[in-house]
């Protein structure tokens, strides 16, 4: 049954009239028109749909929208602030840590979640934390380098 479900998306209060069992991915993309979060596999195997829910990086395709009621969600569209890219986005650009770009939003959001938990990650920590995010174009090494660079820059900022 459809009902009103409210949460915060990229710092704005939103409410949707949806079936509680619908996936958060579908709600974000179809109801709220935020298409930066991608569908890759629908089963939580690839990470293309990773978003931040209350500071945790999670697979939006595996989360029912009723489970995010009252929570804070951050998607790729909410990462840049005041027109300037987030350090992780900047580092992905400067390292060219992407090719087709389809896995990129999920990679960046997962990296964001990792850096919240550990602002001074080692290379090994990043590899193990990113392991479940897949990239077919083969940008893994550049992604690790980008995350290390971003961590440095974020540290300086704080």
């Amino acid at each position: 049954m459809k009902r009103s479900i409210s949460f915060k998306l990229n710092d704005k209060a939103v409410s949707v009239n949806a079936d509680g069992e619908e996936s958060l991915l579908n709600v974000i993309r179809t109801y709220l028109d935020k298409t930066g979060t991608k569908f890759g596999c629908g089963m939580g195997h690839c990470g293309a749909c990773t978003v931040i829910i209350d500071k945790e990086p999670l697979r939006a395709c595996m989360i029912s929208v009723e489970d995010v009621e009252g929570k804070e969600i951050l998607t790729i569209e909410g990462l840049a602030s005041d027109g300037s890219l987030h350090p992780i986005q900047k580092a992905f650009v400067s390292h060219d840590a992407l090719q087709c770009g389809f896995c990129t939003p999920g990679m960046i959001m997962n990296a964001y979640g990792l850096l919240i938990k550990n602002p001074e990650p080692s290379r090994e920590y990043i590899i193990s934390g990113m392991e479940e995010n897949l990239c077919r174009c083969g940008s893994y090494n550049r992604i690790v380098d980008a995350i290390l660079t971003a961590a440095e820059e974020m540290k300086v900022k704080i």
Binding site: E22, K38, F39, S94, D96, C100, G101, I127, G138
Partner: protein, 711 residues
């Protein structure tokens, strides 16, 4: 061109561009300076003379210096992550003397861009760059001529730079491109060879440029065909059979009664459920019961090689030299081995998608396609429409690798839109992607080699089943040789097609494994053996560069091994050396380091070429170590990315790319070549590390353990 003909091309070496139809585009363009040119103009590539009478009709790309001074480049090529959106802008900016930020690339839009046969075969840089540079140089000359009149100086006193024309030695006398083009419309086709810049004068070519589309991709703003939303659009879920090649017998849609606002459409074998919410369409589709007639299963992932061997009789000789009998007689040892490669999926992160609508008699579509013009043709044929009534629009593509040459989803989406009368979006599920992918075909290679007492190759016999001949022309010096190609249309239980460097991954794995086996049997170091038996000097040079960069002679830690593979693809020569660690107890392979040396002629964007090489190697480790499509007949058992492992972060080694310095040569392919050597380099490194010789990719832990137990 017929699909069969094109498919044949994918699996062969394409060394000439493909010619296309002729169309006129220029009426609808606004003002500015327009130079039209043909990407595939052989005469341009070679002698530069062109028939004067062919004015403005035979071209398939053009550039336009607009009245605001910015430059549009229109090409039928598409961007799918391989980076030509950047490298094409780069060569244009170089010759036209504008900053790269002033160039806008308009790609793969069938109404705006002239015809192109598709983005595949690492052809873009090889065939587009020289003519694009020439066209840009032509436009520069036109601008200089107009400036000469305006500034009242002779043209030879002028030079171009940074989007302006200057008087040499007096930079205060200047006029911008915007001022020069204002109110003008000059259309010129490229007829003669304009003066293009020399390597030593390059400011932009040969410099590393970061992808110009990166910012759109890191902000989520880049739109893919599943990101388009149209007013009144419905989402389609197709009800699929359990097996590839099934025929529909009966549909029971009574289960839809519990859903509101769903619609079902049917045509032939197509059954689709539509809803304004994609998840509702999905759920409803699960309630539609279809009875299918499935084809008989003739082979599975284990029996397929025997099946191919027993059922393909027809063959063609591709290359032959000397006499096989002489080869045998003059050899001290003869080694025969068979090599196998199972089906591989493209598995792009974006599944096949299309969004479309009919407007009056026109069909408008955004499709994840490597061949927008081919898709247009297929749609026009399907609906019996004139070509110009179908418009495929420019869109980002989430990875192709050859799999998006085929556009079943586009035809399905359009059929559904036609049947329902509504705008439709179709995004394949991962399971559909695994069933309807046009897989890299399973392949069998039978190799026989002979060496004399001096370690010289005397015999090379190579029979290739289902992998074509691309890249198999011998660069080794084996005086008595024969390469045959065995194939038969319709032999595969699954759809098959072009997969990044079609066929060349399978054959290079087999050849380079067999060369290694031969070297070891002859008791000669595999590097030395290759150099001693090399016909192609450029290949020897490339191998030496790889060996020096890698440090072939350096000590190996316990359990580590080194492996070499060489190959040629799309005009580029590749020498790869891999280091792996093998755990002899578990059979686990950990790639440690890969060095890849390439001679790709002129390297337009060294950074872009490195990114492509790293990507190819990373992707290639997947087919070498993990990827195998599990199936029985038409039933694909690999249904998602948990059942089909691609390379992950932890399995990605350190990668080093080096290029043979050949900047005055023509540029060659960059997107595909590196990947072909990964299977062979890994197989040989695994052998060096553990003594396990695995003749079948993927080289799984189980296959390594089996080889160790046998040996």
């Amino acid at each position: 061109m017929k699909p069969n003909k094109i498919n044949e091309l994918y699996f062969s070496d394409v060394d000439v561009p493909i010619r296309y139809d002729r169309r006129k585009f220029l009426k609808k363009l606004g003002g500015g300076i327009i130079v039209v040119f043909s990407l595939g103009e052989l005469s341009l590539l070679q002698g530069w003379s062109q028939n004067e009478n062919e004015d403005m009709v035979d071209f398939n790309a053009y550039l336009r210096v607009k009245e605001n001074g910015r430059v549009d480049c229109y090409t039928g090529k598409i961007e799918m992550g391989q980076g030509v959106i950047t490298s094409l802008a780069q060569v244009l900016a170089e010759e036209l003397e504008v900053p790269i930020s002033s160039v806008d690339m308009i790609m793969g839009d069938t109404d705006l861009c002239p015809y192109d046969a598709g983005t595949w075969g690492s052809l873009t840089t090889r065939f587009a760059d020289p003519v694009l540079r020439a066209a840009a140089a032509e436009a520069r000359q036109i601008l200089i001529d107009i400036a000469a009149k305006k500034l009242e100086v002779s043209a030879d006193q002028l030079e171009a730079g940074n989007g302006s024309i200057y008087v040499k030695g007096n930079r205060s006398l200047t006029v911008t491109y915007a001022e020069l083009t204002k109110g003008k419309k000059i259309v010129q086709s490229l007829k003669s060879k304009p003066k293009i810049k020399k390597y030593k004068n390059f400011d932009i070519i040969g410099k590393s440029v970061i992808s110009i589309d990166a910012e759109a991709k890191v902000t989520g703003m880049a739109k893919y065909s599943g990101d388009i939303k149209l007013p009144g659009m419905v989402y389609a879920t197709i009800v699929r059979p359990p097996s590839y090649g099934s025929k529909k017998l009966h549909v029971d849609a009574s289960g839809l009664s519990e859903f509101t606002d769903v619609e079902i459409v049917e045509e032939g074998n197509l059954v689709a459920v539509l809803h304004s919410n994609p998840e509702m369409a999905n759920r409803a589709a699960q309630n539609v019961k279809v009875k299918w007639e499935e084809p008989e299963a003739k082979a599975d992932n284990e029996t397929i090689f025997q099946y191919l061997n027993d059922n393909i009789k027809e063959n063609k000789i591709f290359e032959k030299g000397g006499s096989l009998d002489t080869g045998r007689d003059s050899s001290a040892i003869i080694i025969e081995e068979n090599y196998q490669d199972g089906y591989k999926a493209h598995a792009p992160m974006e599944t096949h998608s299309a969004t479309c609508y009919f407007e009056n008699d026109k069909l408008i579509m955004w499709a994840s396609s490597q061949t927008p013009f081919g898709t247009r043709e297929e749609l026009a044929k399907t609906f019996d429409m004139p070509l110009e009534k179908v418009h495929i629009k420019q869109i980002f593509i989430g990875g192709g690798f050859g799999g998006k040459i085929y556009n079943r989803q586009a035809v399905e989406a359009a059929k559904i839109a036609k049947l329902s009368g509504k705008p439709v979006q179709l995004v394949w599920s991962r399971k559909e992607e695994f069933m309807y992918d046009m897989f890299r075909p399973a392949a069998l290679m039978k190799a026989a080699s002979g060496v004399d007492a001096n370690g010289k190759l005397k015999l090379w016999k190579f029979d290739i089943y289902c992998a074509g001949t691309r890249g198999t022309k011998l660069f080794y010096d084996a005086p008595n040789n024969r390469t045959r190609m065995f194939n038969e249309n319709g032999i595969h239980p699954l759809g098959t097609g072009a997969w990044r460097a079609p066929g060349n991954n399978s054959t290079t794995f087999a050849r380079e494994s067999h060369i290694d086996v031969t070297a070891h049997k002859a008791g000669i170091d595999p590097l030395e053996f290759r150099l001693n038996n090399m016909k192609d000097k450029r290949m020897a040079e490339t191998l030496q560069l790889a060996a020096e960069t890698f440090g072939w002679k350096k000590e190996k830690p316990e359990g580590h091994g080194y492996g070499i593979a060489l190959g040629a693809d799309a005009g580029t020569l590749v020498a790869m050396i891999a280091e792996v660690h093998v755990d002899r107890k578990t059979g686990e392979v950990q790639p440690i380091r890969v060095v890849c040396a390439q001679n790709m002629g002129q390297v337009v964007n060294p950074h872009g070429a490195r990114v492509q090489t790293e990507g190819g190697i990373t992707m290639g480790l997947g087919y070498a170590l993990f990827e195998d499509v599990m199936f029985n007949g038409g039933m694909v058992k690999s249904k998602n990315l948990n059942g089909y492992q691609i390379t992950r972060f932890s399995k990605t080694p350190k990668i080093e790319c080096v290029f043979v310095d050949d900047m005055d040569a023509d540029p060659q392919g960059g997107g595909e070549p590196a990947i072909i050597c990964v299977g062979g380099a890994i197989a040989n490194a695994v052998f060096d590390a553990s003594g396990a010789r695995v003749n079948r990719i993927p080289i799984t832990p189980q296959r390594i353990l089996n080889a160790l137990n046998k040996g």
